[in-house]
């Protein structure tokens, strides 16, 4: 449905995107994650046509819409966009905003479409209100309905929840997913919040230094990150020192574990093992002893920081009904099918390597 091939974009001397490639299948909701300034919004603006690429090709539904020489004007692309600040037209009512892109439709169809969308976003009674009379969440839904109204081939959402308070975000993300799925639209959104992305997306990727570091399912991104940057950007965790023993095996003080096959590593190499807080469980039968040194209450669970015998620290989630006394010795064991290892180097090196795109990676695998 949507393909970006080797897209490069420069602003002056600053290269924002470098050989950026991405494929999104019809009906999927994709999500680009990344720190601010990583170029993820530029990807959306290139697809929408507000910017033109310096190199590479953008194809929507099999038709090329932009390359280095030609670009289809934004208003001919049939690509809807929801903006971070919603950009609702302040002089038009909710219904008029939604109907904005339906000018060429027959009047009865237009009315029917607006009514249907108002019901879909659950704002039937706000049709004649003005944008400033709505709450942030309502404005956000109107912006979504406005963009969906002309049935675009592709919908882009730029940080759609960043202007809303955090309580609202996850609920709205699920709500938006329901609406997008109902409309069966292909969508690509951009955010810096991994959990928002998990709530909404089928496929997601991390943008770093103008490239797509990994394009994967939420599970893959969280539990099988291709590099340290992705591992650190998505969720919490700790790196435990270990030794690479043989293909598929790593030895740590928690035991010898299955890991990914890593051709770049040879037995005896020092590695770091990524452990998520849910990879460890409390088990008094386990021979491995750890001491909880810090606890953060998180509602259903408590997240403990554990100090191991070697002095290394790891994180562990544990049900909050069963608090563990701090500084006491407890037994822990790993509860994971396999772990991800990285060669022990300075963390920044990997993402700076030019070939760390989504396919090949020195430290990675699976």
């Amino acid at each position: 449905m949507l393909t970006l091939e080797q897209v490069t974009k420069r602003f002056g001397t600053h290269t924002v995107l470098r050989d950026f490639s991405l494929t999104l299948d019809a009906g999927m909701i994709g999500c680009l994650l990344g720190p601010s300034g990583s170029g993820k919004t530029t990807v959306l603006r290139l697809i929408a046509g507000f910017e033109t690429p310096d190199a590479g090709t953008i194809t929507i539904g099999g038709t090329p819409v932009a390359d280095a020489r030609r670009a289809l004007e934004p208003h001919r692309r049939q690509v809807g966009m929801v903006f971070q600040d919603h950009a609702l037209f302040p002089h038009l009512t909710v219904a008029e905003n939604i109907a904005f892109g339906l000018r060429s439709w027959h009047a009865t169809e237009r009315t029917a479409r607006v009514t249907a969308l108002l019901r879909l976003i659950d704002l039937d009674d706000a049709a004649h209100k003005y944008p400033h009379e709505l709450s942030g969440g309502q404005q956000q839904r109107v912006a979504l309905a406005r963009a969906l109204a002309p049935r675009p081939r592709l919908l882009l959402l730029d940080e759609p929840f960043s202007n809303l308070d955090s309580m609202l975000r996850e609920r709205l993300a699920m709500e938006v997913r329901r609406i997008l799925k109902h409309e069966a639209v292909t969508a690509l959104l951009v955010t810096h919040d991994p959990f928002e992305a998990f709530a909404i997306a089928d496929r997601l990727g991390v943008v770093a230094n103008g490239q797509l570091a990994q394009w994967d399912t939420p599970y893959g991104l969280y539990h099988q990150p291709h590099n340290r940057f992705v591992a650190e950007f998505i969720g919490e965790g700790a790196f435990l020192p270990g030794t690479f023993e043989a293909p598929n095996q790593v030895r740590t003080e928690l035991g010898t574990l299955p890991c990914q096959d890593e051709p770049a590593l040879s037995p005896g190499d020092a590695v770091d093992v990524l452990l998520r807080p849910d990879d460890l469980v409390h088990d008094e039968a386990s021979p491995v002893i750890a001491r909880p040194i810090h606890a953060v209450f998180r509602g259903s669970i408590i997240r403990y920081t554990l100090r191991l015998a070697s002095g290394a620290t790891v994180l562990m989630d544990h049900p909050s009904h069963d608090p563990l006394p701090l500084e006491s010795a407890i037994g822990v064991r790993l509860d994971t099918r396999h772990v991800v290892v990285f060669r022990r180097t300075s963390a920044a090196v990997e993402i700076d390597q030019p070939d760390c795109g989504c396919s090949v990676n020195t430290n990675q695998a699976l």
């Binding site: 603006r45 208003h75 903006f83 950009a87 037209f89 892109g101």
Partner: protein, 575 residues
């Protein structure tokens, strides 16, 4: 503008309020994609910069041709007096207006007393009164043959000479204090609540908190307000001419009409322009700092309730200021207009009225068009050089009308020289193109009032974010469709507001009208000036009331704006 006239002109007001309000929201944006960078915009901006700069350059260039006889007379007798009187007037007006403005602002912000909610905005209304109107009413009362003066003399109460610097200062201070009142009140309301509480929590009394927290916090805004008052005093022509004060503005007029030396007039104008630019720097500097004190939301200050004697004292004080600045003079004007009755409404009056209308509406049309072009140019090209260009193009609001008048006359006559020479080259006798025509007046007005129109238009245009353009584009709308369906509806109220403000300013304008009008042209403002010069107060009352009523419009609008600052953010009242 007002100035000259003295009063308020919406412009400075808007410049001030706009500065305070829009700084928060205004973000510099680059060129929206899909909008071609027409060289056209750059030509427009370059043209406007040249237009604003030409009179100034002409004035400075006048030093090449020094008329030695007049120059000697000028430096020996005229300039020292004019400089001294200007400085004295400035100082006295600033002191008095500062006391009135800051004092009333604090009183109405920090205390509750009978009528305070009314006083909060009504105290702004003296803005509606052109200073020269207020001036002639006071002259009619207190001059040697004035009604009050005669009454007092019967009781052998000595009366100071009103036709003096002190009289002019009194009138100007009461006409101009609202600038400082507005600036201080906005600052007190938006900044001091939390800070004051901190001060009080640290053990300051209310009074100490005022001097040690509120005033220092509001200082940038107050300085900006004082700078506006300074512009007006430097620019004032009507009041000082009436009260016989020899300021630089009057000097320019006299050099031209009494000494018949345009170059001398321009040399005095250069001096005055220098002082105005000094005030401008002061204002810009203060405005820049004001942005730090207005960011962030703050709780409104909870006013302390005054009781018994202090409460009635406060009410009495506010009423007295209003009476002096507005109520009594307007009542007097009404009485005069009534006694003269229909006699005043001769066909000649309709003629002056028509002239004022024609000038005002064509001037508003030209100025709003130019301001719209300038605002779009700035939107389409957000580079810093564009901001500098906009500043220069709108500098006219700081230039006293008399300065601008001589500058524009110098430029138009230079153009006419070339034009006539060109005609001779073709063996034809061409009449002057610009000099002594309404076109020259319109150019001068456009330079002077460009910022009045630019402020609201730019603020409205800033609300049309580049994202809205992009949203419309992604919904399939073309460039032309975006202008028609998004920009025009959103700008329309601001365009009307801008046109109304410029219209009213031109209606009240005195020195430019007086010095650049075609021979024999009379408007309401020049008519008031000539009648009052002859002491025919009653006859001047009707046109003066008309001008005052017209001025009440922007004053009302501003008063509403500060009482309900939130309304500025709702789309229905985008101005």
């Amino acid at each position: 503008m007002a100035a000259c006239s003295g009063t308020i002109d919406g412009s400075r007001w808007l410049a001030l309020i706009g500065g305070l309000h829009t700084l928060k929201r205004f973000t510099v944006t680059g060129t929206p994609a899909g909008v071609p960078r027409f060289a056209f915009w750059h030509v427009v901006v370059a043209g406007l910069v040249a237009l604003a700069a030409a009179p100034l350059i002409a004035i400075v260039a006048s030093f090449r041709a020094i008329d030695s006889d007049v120059w000697h007379h000028l430096t020996a007798y005229l300039l020292p007096t004019q400089l001294l009187e200007t400085a004295q007037l400035l100082l006295v007006v600033l002191l008095l207006a500062f006391t009135l403005g800051v004092g009333l602002a604090w009183l109405t912000t920090a205390y509750r007393f009978p009528g305070v909610t009314l006083f909060r905005w009504v105290l702004l209304l003296p803005l509606a009164m052109p200073a020269y109107v207020l001036g002639f009413v006071y002259l009619a009362w207190f001059d040697v043959t004035g009604s009050v003066a005669l009454f007092l003399r019967r009781w052998e109460i000595p009366l100071p000479q009103v036709r003096s610097l002190w009289g002019a200062a009194w009138v100007l201070a009461f006409a101009l204090y609202p600038y400082i009142y507005l600036a201080a009140r906005v600052a007190f309301v938006t900044t001091s609540a939390r800070a004051l509480e901190v001060g009080q929590a640290l053990g300051l009394t209310r009074r100490q908190a005022f001097w040690r927290v509120a005033v220092p916090l509001a200082r940038p805004a107050i300085v900006a307000g004082c700078a506006l008052v300074a512009f007006e005093v430097l620019a004032d022509f009507g009041v000082v001419a009436l009260f016989g004060v020899e300021t630089l503005s009057v000097g320019i007029y006299k050099a031209w009409y009494a000494l018949f030396s345009l170059s001398t007039a321009m040399q005095i104008a250069a001096l005055l322009a220098f002082l105005a630019v000094l005030a401008l720097f002061f204002e810009q500097w203060a405005r820049k700092r004001a942005r730090f004190t207005t960011t962030g939301r703050s709780q409104p200050l909870t006013p302390t309730r005054l009781t018994s004697f202090p409460a009635w004292g406060a009410t009495l004080l506010c009423t007295a200021v209003l009476a002096v600045a507005l109520l009594l003079p307007v009542a007097q004007l009404c009485v005069w207009a009534w006694t003269l009755g229909r006699d005043a409404l001769t066909s000649r009056y309709w003629h002056f009225f028509a002239n004022s209308l024609i000038l005002g509406s064509s001037g508003a049309g030209v100025t709003v068009t130019l301001a719209l072009l300038l605002a779009y140019a700035q939107r389409l090209d957000g580079r810093p050089i564009m901001h500098t260009a906009v500043r220069i193009a709108t500098v006219g609001y700081a230039l006293p009308g008399a300065v601008l008048a001589v500058g524009v006359v110098a430029v138009t006559s230079a153009v006419d020289h070339v034009w006539i020479a060109l005609g001779r080259w073709f063996d034809a006798h061409w009449a002057p193109l610009l000099g002594g025509t309404v076109v020259a007046m319109l150019i001068a007005y456009a330079i002077r009032f460009l910022v009045v129109a630019f402020g609201p238009i730019q603020a409205a245009l800033a609300r049309v974010t580049p994202r809205m353009d992009e949203a419309a584009q992604s919904l399939g709308e073309t460039q032309y469709g975006i202008l028609r369906r998004i920009h025009l509806p959103l700008l329309r109220p601001a365009l009307f507001a801008a046109a109304a403000l410029v219209f009213i300013d031109i209606l009240k304008e005195l020195p430019i009208t007086l010095m650049t009008r075609p021979f024999g042209w009379e408007t309401l403002a020049t008519r008031i000036f000539e009648l009052t010069n002859d002491g025919r107060w009653e006859e001047a009352a009707l046109p003066a009331l008309a001008v005052t009523l017209a001025g009440a419009l922007p004053a009302w609008f501003l008063a509403k704006k500060i009482t309900h600052p939130t309304s500025a953010h709702t789309p229905e009242t985008p101005c």
